[in-house]
Symmetry: C2
Subunit: 479 residues, 2 copies
């Protein structure tokens, strides 16, 4: 299949821009990012209105998400300026090196080249056109082609227009950004030889299909797919005894936030057989939560199908279900550990929306054994009393092995954009678990090491030069 | 296909050892690595004799390679102790964080789990049982299962025995190392769910087959395949004019080193149309180089087949060929840039052995354009006069884009084990170009980030604790 002319032109422009953007001073890239952030802030009202019309997420949430998005652009601007991502290592020549004279070697991580970003449905700002993947790829020095999510086409176009103007104003080279629309266009771009990496946030089915296409190219490229998970939460008996009510309201809040449309939604709750009223409290609180609008009818249908599929598994009881079974109101299901295990991977499949499956366990040891065989997760949480911590090391070890972020007495929704955040876990939560799609480390995904041996100063990229014109951190070893 | 009992037992032992090895103090891992190095040094004579009997590489080369291997173990021991590979980031809670209260987050890179290493044929020490992949995986905290190369089974067993004793003496947990043999055993191990990554050095065909198996597992795992390349070398007319004789002897030395059996062998030489006698000097020097024993008859046959295939391409002339066409003596072929391009990827395929293809170019700009479309390479070299450097920035940019290491007036063979080395390039030179299989950065391949949010000290891995018992570098951000 040949790329359509449009795609070919855009990919060629991205390839054309790649070397100069990769070699641009961090200050220029940082300025471009902050200029985009400013342009978005200036059109906040129009953007939020466009987003609300297409996603039904409401102005409060959307304003917060836009703030997060512009903050994120600023954070990546600062990261580009700091220059740590170049990971510069300079080994001076050393005639006395034990394995024979060591040549002079200078290694850094350079930009990978044009990146294709598949926008997500559930975060029309933060994981869409000007979201974290775009910001981190730009900061690394990669041109970006965004494949718009069909759930918010008008907002995507408006954002793209603002970006285009902002980048031109900031002096970024042409070709550093483009927007494409349509599933087929996205696949054609993914197959284009100029593309060097792709990032995706979305469903497992869609993500795995695209990952396969990326892997089957003549020159395969890294595919950073963030495919979501059920985010297991474990409550100890002691925690249930001490604060069942608090846990119930915390859980219900996290489960129903944004109509449950978060990849960190806590879909799976493990509670002790003696639960001190915790499950009743959850059920009762959930019954009071009304159906919130979901992103679209397709999402409502997916949620209802998923909920029915789970409810029909052997040994699964329905605790909470709305009177009208066609509304996307919260649902709560329950089973025991034995039935959960017997149901296999189906019981641990993500149901995108406000659905909780409560699994009763008898012993923490037995539970840890089951969790050690779970598919990879973005997050895993423990709610326990402080005095119990020392007895929970083996459980915590299992959770760290099967997830990218382990939380203690906190809920997994609300992923903070910071330096130490990790948003990505073992497969299938993420297709490339060494990366993160939130936090400053996200930038690393779009770099690749190159070493220069004995090269004259004139041919060295700035970060590797002894005069270090950009002032980036350099680890120099004389011997 | 089910793993055989043997494989199952070994993989289970590796999985069992994984948590404690990952959590072991760097000092213990460093001690284990240096104990292995010492054990190998103590049996140097027997090891070199066993290697020579099976590989015909000769005691001089093998002694050097063993020195490199024990040095490498020591370097990774030091790297484990330094603890930089944990990449620790600690964000303190910050109520004033612009997007809402920032939770306390602590992120580090932890060991990936059991690693499967496919040993190479051409470096029976440095890329085999106790080679760089094994050393770097151990240093990262991963148990290692090595699939022996069939080219040196006795040496592999002897090395494994020494490792077993050394690891036991050093107090490493059982299961941290195992040796398996046989192609089928290797594939079964690659499919075993306990394995979390694989590393391979060898042919493109074998490597791509294994990479596909790794990708098609229910839980795919990273496959670090170092598949070799033709390592283009560009000579400018000015360099040829000033020092044709020196270039000729340098090229012939690099091309015929170790019977050309290096993945950095400079198989492709680009020379100016006006070459000032360079090609004649190369041809004349090559005629004086006798056939050196190759690793085995299979390698001789592969070399002869490859050489004949290349010689039969349209527009390719044979400049040097031994009187007896069945010996693995050096061969030199020549063509021009137009025929090289017309022949497509076939002309740039690696021919494992002392074969050089000289390609004549007229303009450096035209050459750069051709090189920009080459398959990924481990290395790319330029030989030019110092005063030319400023005119070569665009060529250097192309070479950095298509390779992992760019050399200036040096030859690519002899890969120094240092901090800034990069041995890995764009596909197909490497299946995962973000990694290196030589140098201390090789360790990064076997780690994965995990973040802890709000966790009590008792549950934190040592590198993340405030009392920092192992004294690893921590990047702490208060706000």
């Amino acid at each position: 299949m040949n790329p359509t002319p449009t795609d070919r032109v855009l990919a060629a422009a991205a390839a054309e821009a790649a070397p100069s953007w990769a070699a641009s001073p961090p200050d220029l890239r940082a300025h471009a990012l902050t200029t985009v952030a400013k342009a978005l802030e200036e059109e906040r009202e129009a953007l939020v209105a466009a987003a609300d019309a297409e996603t039904r997420l409401g102005p409060a949430r959307l304003n917060g998400e836009l703030t997060r998005t512009t903050f994120q652009l600023g954070l990546f601007a600062a990261e580009a300026r700091a220059g740590e991502h170049y990971d510069v290592r300079i080994d001076r020549a050393d005639p006395a090196w034990p394995t024979g004279p060591r040549p002079e070697l200078r290694r850094y991580r350079t930009a990978l080249g044009p990146v294709l970003v598949f926008a997500a449905s559930n975060f029309p700002f933060a994981f869409s056109v000007a979201g974290g993947d775009t910001a981190s790829a730009w900061a690394a020095g990669c041109p970006v082609i965004v494949k718009a999510h069909p759930g918010h086409p008008e907002l995507s176009r408006l954002t793209a227009e603002l970006i285009d103007h902002a980048l031109a104003r900031a002096g970024a080279p042409e070709g550093v950004f483009a927007l494409i629309e349509g599933e087929e266009q996205g696949i054609e771009a993914l197959r284009h030889p100029a593309l060097r990496a792709a990032a995706f946030t979305g469903s497992q089915r869609g993500g795995l299909t695209l990952a396969r296409i990326a892997a089957e190219r003549p020159e395969p490229i890294p595919f950073y797919g963030e495919l979501g998970s059920v985010n297991p939460v474990v409550v100890t008996e002691e925690a249930a005894r001490v604060r069942a009510a608090e846990l119930a309201s915390g859980y219900v809040g996290s489960l129903t936030l944004g109509a449950g449309q978060f990849c960190t939604n806590p879909g799976l709750l493990f509670v002790p057989a003696e639960d001190h009223g915790l499950v009743d409290a959850i059920a009762s609180a959930l019954r009071g939560v009304e159906a919130a609008p979901m992103l679209g009818d397709r999402f409502v249908q997916g949620y209802l199908d998923g909920a029915r599929r789970l409810a029909a598994l052997p040994g699964v009881r329905t605790l909470v279900r709305p009177a009208d079974d066609e509304t996307p109101a919260p649902r709560l299901l329950a089973t025991d550990l034995k039935s959960f295990v017997a149901a296999g991977e189906e019981a641990a499949e993500e149901c995108f929306g406000p659905l909780g499956l409560v699994v009763t366990y008898r012993q923490l040891g037995e539970l840890a054994e089951v969790l050690s065989r779970m598919p990879g997760q973005l997050t895993a949480s423990v709610h326990a009393e402080p005095a119990e911590a020392t007895q929970l090391t083996s459980l915590a070890g299992v959770l760290a092995d099967r997830s990218g972020r382990v939380l203690w007495n906190q809920w997994p929704t609300g992923v903070s954009v910071t330096h130490a955040m990790q948003h990505g876990g073992p497969f299938p939560a993420t297709t490339a678990p060494a990366g993160t799609s939130v936090g400053t480390a996200a930038l690393e995904r779009f770099t690749r090491p190159v070493a220069y041996q004995g090269a004259p100063e004139e041919l060295l990229p700035e970060p590797l030069r002894d005069d270090n014109p950009w002032g980036v951190p350099q680890r120099v070893r004389a011997s």
